[in-house]
């Protein structure tokens, strides 16, 4: 048999129908639902008198609108209606809902893996572009619109054109001073926000193999920021170890059998991709975005570019527009940019290892008096575990606000907003204009870079900090 990529293997085992000249009808193994992109889908079902075909493969949570100071005090009336609507819909259509009082509530892309719902080889969809996160387990996971949410609810399938395959190979060894976030930001800076359009990315290479599951989730999470339909990583022992013992994952002999099946999913030696791009881990340094899309980022030792650095006239205009919005002057060293807010959280970087890394770096230090710093764990479980380790106290002692879980300041649909004209060092995934609030200026960074910026009041090269910690 010809060698195949994991992408082809999952695709071919999920095709319900394949007719010449038509998209494939793809079966969906897991459908995750949240409050913002589902109400119109349920309403569509109701109007057409249709049911949810497989409530057992559907799973709902609330995350986008959730307040993080007191999660039960939802003062925004329209947000409350949206959450109540989800409750009503789940009850009416028989869908399991992890609501606000549930101890396992959290960001959909954090709790799916936590609960062991995310597994290798599954097709997973959600009305949210960061569904690509689940690809870290070797699942084909992608974001869909509300019409498609309705289609999956009604039929458990989707019509999908076969995507191209793109290998993003990260060669070499990643220095321990760097994080997965730096790697994905460097990939997007190097290859652009539309390198993945029409494609599914498989991330490969030694640097990726050496990553933990939480790091792999950070990488796959931002595949959409490279324009890809999905991003995934072939499963290995790291994947299986993470899954073993989790709720929703089979145990005992069943687990052993599953692992054998999962091992078959990995891309075969000799399989080819439509396209391959390569980046050397040794060329990566801690990254900071300066602009208004995730590809507009540079290493911490660099300076803010000028419009003339753009290759085409359109690029030059885009850089100029970004610099105006961000109020930055070309040639400014990135490390001299002052910030007023820090957000550690989001489906990109809000897991236990992210919080540990940030807490380690700032232990015993104090947040700059010009900075408001927020830590928002990805789920109530992450929060609970962090508290059991005393991470909350480290953050609180340093002057950070320790919040409860949710999407929070990643898109500021809840009350956590960056005021107009102010800057935020954020561990989230998008630095689009107005993303964290109208006129707010977002700089995407890793949790450690964000934590260090909170202390210094501006970006710092954490490699030097770490060096000092070692020599002290």
């Amino acid at each position: 048999m010809a060698p195949k990529t994991i992408i082809e293997k999952i695709w071919e085992t999920h095709e319900v129908m394949q007719e010449e000249g038509k998209p494939s009808l793809l079966y969906i193994d897991l459908h995750m639902v949240h409050e913002v992109t589902s109400p119109q889908a349920f309403e569509g079902l109701r109007l057409a008198n249709r049911k949810v075909r497989r409530p057992d493969l559907t799973f709902a949570t609330m995350d986008h609108n959730v307040p993080t100071v007191n999660r039960y005090d939802i003062t925004d009336r329209i947000a409350r209606t949206q959450m109540e609507t989800l409750e009503t819909n789940c009850k009416e259509f028989g869908v399991d809902l992890v609501d606000l009082v549930h101890p396992e509530n959290g960001i959909v892309h954090v709790i799916g893996p936590e609960l062991g719902l995310t597994q290798p080889g599954k097709t997973i969809v959600c009305g949210d572009s960061h569904t690509s996160t689940h690809g870290a387990f070797g699942a084909l996971a992608f974001g869909i619109g509300t019409s498609e949410v309705e289609h999956v609810l009604a039929t458990q399938t989707l019509w999908q054109s076969r995507p191209k395959t793109l290998e993003v190979r990260v060669t070499g060894k990643l220095s321990p001073e760097l994080s997965a976030k730096d790697v994905i930001l460097a990939i997007i800076a190097k290859f652009g926000v539309d390198v993945g359009t029409g494609s599914v990315i498989e991330f490969t290479g030694d640097a990726i193999r050496g990553m933990t599951m939480e790091e792999r989730m950070t990488i796959c999470n931002m595949s959409i920021e490279a324009g890809a339909k999905a991003g995934l990583i072939s499963p290995d022992q790291v994947t299986f170890d993470y899954l073993e013992g989790r709720e929703n994952v089979p145990s005992g002999d069943e687990f052993i059998k599953k692992v054998e099946q999962w091992k078959q999913l990995a891309t075969d030696a000799g399989a080819t991709y439509d396209r391959v791009v390569t980046i050397d881990a040794s060329e990566i340094e801690p990254m900071v975005t300066w602009g208004t899309n995730p590809s507009q980022g540079v290493g911490i030792s660099k300076t803010v570019p000028a419009p003339t650095d753009g290759k085409t006239e359109t690029d030059q205009r885009a850089i100029k527009q970004a610099l105006e919005y961000m109020d930055l002057t070309p040639g400014t060293p990135v490390s001299s940019i002052d910030i007023q807010h820090v957000f550690i959280g989001s489906c990109t970087n809000s897991r236990l290892s992210d919080l540990r890394a940030a807490a380690n770096l700032i232990k015993g230090k104090t947040v700059s008096k010009h900075v408001r710093a927020l830590v928002v764990p990805g789920s109530e479980k992450v929060k609970q575990r962090a508290e059991a380790e005393g991470l909350d106290q480290i953050f609180i002692d340093a002057g950070f606000e320790w919040r409860s879980s949710g999407c929070s300041m990643c898109l500021s649909m809840n009350p956590d907003v960056v005021p107009e004209g102010e800057r935020c060092a954020s561990t989230s995934n998008r630095n689009f204009e107005g993303r964290q609030g109208k006129g707010a200026r977002t700089h995407l960074v890793s949790p450690e870079m964000a934590a260090a910026a909170a202390i210094a009041g501006h970006f710092v090269d954490i490699r030097q900090w770490k060096l000092q910690q070692v020599t002290q």
Binding site: Y27, I78, G145, T197, N293, K438
Partner: protein
Amino acid sequence: MEPIINHKGTVATMDRVNVDTDQIIPKQFLKRVERTGFGQYLFFDWRFLPDGKPDPKFELNQKHNQGATILVAGHNFGCGSSREHAPWALDDYGFRVIIAPSFADIFYNNCVKNGMLPIRLDEKKVDQLLSKGANDTYSLTVSLENQKISGEGFEATFSIDPYWKEMLLNGWDEIGLTLQYDKEIQAFEQKA
């Protein structure tokens, strides 16, 4: 869904690349539980000044772009968030056709599912349209049936997946269509 076969209208040009769905419909308007009424919020943060008045510098506020039903923009249009509120807002504002050198995948699908026609055209062709419509009202005729676009001094053909084409031409309810394959879906479920 309303079918789209042939469309004649004027263009609005947005000579910008990587226009993301956060700009098309900012997050503060995603809390509604309806599909309708999003047009008033389209490009809200670009379209309106802090005092609520239209920003005269923004493309859609310019006189020659008023009443446009065809939007022409730079590459990677609709990138970012999967929010279908973006095509809902464009549709509600009055756009039926969007022309760009490339679209983000999810956005493209979301348009088709709402009976809007996204057209990928060669960058040079899009540049021609961007300049033709830059300062004056410019009309185009789009034939989905023949996959052709024409206007004064402009001709182009475009490609589209035959399945999406059929859906758009007929204004089909896709779910109804898929449910005709219930037997196949059931067979798949039993095998799995």
